[in-house]
């Protein structure tokens, strides 16, 4: 369970071009459910997602992860919480170019100091699970859209996170691949993982695996969808 209390996030605080991206949001997100944040671009859903995912600290308000208050944790510890709790799937996948699919999957685990061989074994098992093991040594830029997507998903899963966060995951995918992605989300749900997605794609928020759709506009919640 993730609880947000009166969250505000202001960029360029105190300057003329200050921007309030999230403005007083209070919300409780259930564990082991699929939640979609929906809204037009600039509505603050991505910022809210980054706050939930411990990527940034809110300007005001508190976030509780389970019963732990994470708002006042310094970056060092926030990162530690983040990499053990969350897996991220980004718009355009954001794979690192020039290195192989396998290395991309292993990348998040490097700083954790796992033995290289055992890490490699786990990464290959994940690639196998998603049927792209034959492509393990291909450079990221040579992967097809579907392969890149699945590599990105493997990368999100390498540290075995409890919560998966996806930002506009279908924005650059065709219908077939988008449906495939939602099937994978269904698998996550079956494995008791929490999934939080920001998307304005009807294919995503209309999908039967989604438990709850939250609509945002201008940094505020318009409909909490419960």
């Amino acid at each position: 369970m993730i609880e947000l209390r009166d969250i505000r996030k202001v960029f360029n605080e105190g300057k003329p071009h200050a921007l309030t991206a999230v403005d007083g949001v209070s919300l409780v997100l259930d564990a082991r459910a699929v939640t979609v944040l929906q809204g037009p671009s600039g509505s603050g859903k991505t910022t809210l997602l980054s706050l939930v995912g411990c990527m940034a600290r809110p300007t005001e308000g508190r976030i509780l992860l389970g019963d732990r208050e994470i708002t006042s944790l310094p970056e060092r510890f926030l990162t530690d919480v983040r990499r053990r709790t969350f897996g991220f799937i980004f718009q355009q996948f954001n794979l690192v170019k020039g290195i192989s699919a396998l290395e991309n999957v292993m990348l998040p685990a490097y700083p954790l100091g796992e033995h290289h061989a055992s890490l490699k074994k786990r990464a290959r098992a994940l690639l196998d699970l998603f049927g792209i093991l034959p492509r393990e040594s291909s450079k990221a830029e040579w992967l097809s859209g579907g392969e890149a997507q699945r590599t990105a998903i493997c990368r999100a899963l390498i540290n075995d996170p409890q919560i998966i966060i996806a930002d506009e995951p279908t924005a650059h995918l065709d219908t077939k691949l988008s449906r495939e992605f939602m099937d994978i989300v269904g698998r996550f749900k079956a494995e008791q993982k929490t999934v939080i997605i920001a998307s304005h794609d009807p294919l995503v928020y209309g999908s039967p695996v989604v438990d709850r759709v939250i609509t945002m506009r201008d940094g505020k919640i318009e409909a909490a969808g419960r």
């Binding site: 990527m55 940034a56 991220f88 990348l107 998040p108 700083p111 890490l119």
Partner: protein, 378 residues
Amino acid sequence: MGNWFERQRNIIDFTLSSLVRRKGKNLALLLVYALLVFLLASVMFFTHALRREASFVLQGAPEIVVQRMSAGRHELIPARYLGMIKGIRGVSGVRGRLWGYYFDPFSGANYTLMVPEAFSHGSGDVIIGQGIARTRLVGPGDVLSFQRYDGTPAILTVREVLPSASELVSSDLIVLSENDFRRFFGMAPGLYTDIVLTVRNAKEVATVAGKVQKLLPDTRPILKSEILRTYDTIFDWRSGIIVVILSSAVLAFIIFAWDKASGLSAEERKEIGILKAIGWETSDVLLMKFWEGAAVSLTAFLAGVLLAYVHVFFTPVMLFEPVLKGWSTLYPSFKLVPFINPYQVATLFFLTVVPYTVATIVPSWRAATIDPDSVMRS
């Protein structure tokens, strides 16, 4: 501890592969870096080897040389001083020396003429240094002609050419008999250029020198240790001057390195953003940057030092030779004995790697503190 080690290893792995991926950008930096190390290392290796060479030559030199001074200038010393010095307690041997310079208009160079303690050849014979043999194209058996002080010609037969072992000092040397020498310069029999003494007990050198000056106030005793010291200073000073001149190059390099390190391409920026987003922490990225700097520095440093080593000790072309040696127009083409010590390497390290590291700390830190959510915001 195993955990710590694996973390380093994983990050080093990734750093190296990233460096290889960005060959183009790093190659330019690496080249400039290695060139700088090469220049500085060449200067240092060369002067250090010269210093060793000079002190090696001076090992056989007498402990004290006594010169007569007149009106603040070096003057010929009368032979009667020999006897007076011999009477000083502690002096075990005294000898008058004859030496001088001759300007040779053919080669445009100054030769050093010297009478040895015991000359193995007869009147009219000479032994010459390699430099003279080279410029005048003569060898044993050939004849050399010079002009005496009064304009009359001196025809001398070359009997030997000195071995090249210590060419730095002997390159421009002509060794001849006392008789020939006196006729050459028109020097009266009762005079010498200077006097050398040997002292029985090395600890008494300074005392003896003091007594000489007291006894003969118009002389100046010069100690071997002082000559060595002066050589050391001159060589240090020369290489120091070059280092100061090259410091503008170091400064330019620092600015270049700073610029390279802070001018992250959009792709690198994005890559670090991705790393931070998927769970790398600022100190992980800093660690990566540290290893990146270490790899670049190590490669450039080794390459530069190695090239300089080959350049100074194994190739004839010497970039700074005229400045660093230059006491005669007859440059000796001697081979230096390859020599390198940890001290030189440490000094080089401080002249190059430390400035580079300092220049990259702030840019690396800036790169490492890219916000993790930057990938999501773009």
